[in-house]
Symmetry: C2
Subunit: 147 residues, 2 copies
DNA sequence: AGAGGTTACATTGACGCCAATGTATCGACA
DNA sequence: TGTCGATACATTGGCGTCAATGTAACCTCT
């Protein structure tokens, strides 16, 4: 018999856990000299370049303006390149630089190890279930891989 | 057969969904003229007053310094009261004011409705499963109700 | 009593993030 | 061609958050 929980309880627990995990993640990635959002962006661009800014924002779940600001800093730091799209000059295509690609590789490893550590208490089935539930919750705002 | 997912995929999905939900939550609560963190704090104090600052931070999942700053603003706004503990003069006991209690009631209702709306796509069993998983993930940093 | 380590809270500087808004480009249509 | 709404990105002001650190009270042990 599943203990019945209210939606508010779920929200509280979700919010609390999310914040705790974010702190731990930042702590782990800090050892690589980078913050979670920055590494997340660079790794995502490396994975699916060239990528438009708005697509990138959608993929990582942040607002477009936030992505713009963060990307700006990453470009200044020489990790990403902006390139105006030939077909649509409003669009910006993002790619990693050589330096960005190298760091992305290091950070991906750190990211994966941090994730394994944080989700270690879950069984494989729980992880799969969790992902299903998360995708259900964010079904409205899903990148192209939606299907 | 559960699709196997990597820890990094879980982390990505978790982070993305958390940010999306936070945005939606803020949007809903904005209609009540309050932000999610502020309402969350006031409601939590109303629920378990008197409560120490650090306990409160743990309950909502934020760092102690963050709680201090937020509480400061809420005290200035007349929603919360600080009171130095008689037994341990380092400690601060928090309570809601009359105004804070009234608003907490309104916000609790808004909070609950927002949560119901956001978690509406989940079945009762999924919600229960989700809470189990979340508690497992944050088992290290659990308030006194730890069990 | 008082020295030294510990605990509870406050403060600070920097960052991530948002909503709202501004600017340039695009596309359709008169 | 020029106009108008829509789209893609950039900018801005403000909040929430953190880690790191400071200050005061507590506790133990001598």
């Amino acid at each position: 018999m599943p203990k019945s929980v209210t939606a508010a309880q779920v929200a509280d627990e979700f919010s609390r856990t999310a914040k705790i995990l974010v702190r731990h993640f930042n702590e782990r990635l800090g050892e690589h000299g980078v913050s979670t959002p920055r590494s997340r962006l660079v790794v995502e661009v490396a994975r699916s370049q060239p990528v438009r800014l708005t697509e990138l924002a959608l993929a990582v779940g942040i607002a477009q303006g936030t992505a713009s600001t963060l990307v700006d800093a990453l470009v200044r730091d020489g990790l990403l390149e902006r390139q105006t799209s030939a077909g649509d000059r409003r669009s910006v295509l993002l790619r990693v630089t050589a330096q960005g690609a190298a760091l992305a590789q290091d950070w991906t490893a750190g990211y994966e190890r941090a994730a394994e550590e944080l989700f270690e208490p879950l069984t494989a089935e729980q992880m799969s279930t969790l992902v299903d539930i998360l995708r259900t919750l964010s079904a409205d705002e899903t990148p192209a891989t939606g299907g």
